[in-house]
Amino acid sequence: MIYDFFPAGTYEEMRRLKESINSAFNSFSAGYPFCNIYESPEKTCISFFAPGLREDDIDISATPDSLTISIDRKKVFEEQAMKEERPFGTFRRTVNFPFKVNTEKHWAKYKNGVLRLIFERAEEDKPKKIKIN
């Protein structure tokens, strides 16, 4: 088959290259900062990957359905860069919660460049047991 044309290991390299290209394009479409969303029956956790910020640079607002963060990432150097890949400027991102949350019951922490927010599920959104009469 086609694998026979390539020396051993080359196909694996090509597969990894394809994966990295696909992953790069996925990242472009996702927006900045990247985020992960997790859920449990009672809570939801959202992590944003935004290194190099101070707490003053982050603005967070939430409704029962969605969360919006605005960040202002400032350059830490004035010199002309020989290579510049890191994003700077103002970024805004809105993500939907997996369920309605209680915006009063939340937890937020920024550590090692990762902003993590946990919200409790709203009481009215929790599944209710229905008794059969």
Partner: protein
């Protein structure tokens, strides 16, 4: 493609975004490694190649299930061939809020030196 770094596990290898700045007495490198702290970063120089390895694992309560992911658990890896005028023994590194800052000073031989003129 870099073959020096062998990733035996199934963890993804990420190429961290990097800025390289020329300063008066050397070079500064800023690298985004969100989630990594000083214990999870390894900087080394071998054969004039500067290698940076770091890792990140998101630790959450067991009850959380992944719903959407854009930034997976990963090993950061990047390497740079150093210019000859960099003093590899004097490279320093610090990390804050997920940004690794490396300072690569020029070696003393290439720094401008004032030559004293002696009177005969």
């Amino acid at each position: 493609m870099n073959m020096k770094y062998k990733n035996d596990s199934r963890t993804k290898i990420c190429r961290p975004a990097t800025d390289v700045i020329s300063i008066e007495d050397g070079i500064k490198i800023f690298m985004d490694v969100p989630g990594a702290d000083e214990e999870k970063v390894d900087v080394s120089v071998e054969d004039n190649v500067l290698s940076v390895r770091a890792s990140y694992t998101e630790s959450l309560e067991e009850s959380f299930k992944v719903l959407h992911t854009e930034f997976d658990h990963c090993d950061y890896f990047r390497e740079f061939t150093l210019p000859r005028n960099i003093s590899s023994t004097k490279i320093s590194a610090k990390i804050k809020d997920g940004v690794l800052e490396l300072t690569l000073p020029f070696s003393d031989e290439v720094k401008p030196r004032k030559i004293q003129i002696t009177k005969e």
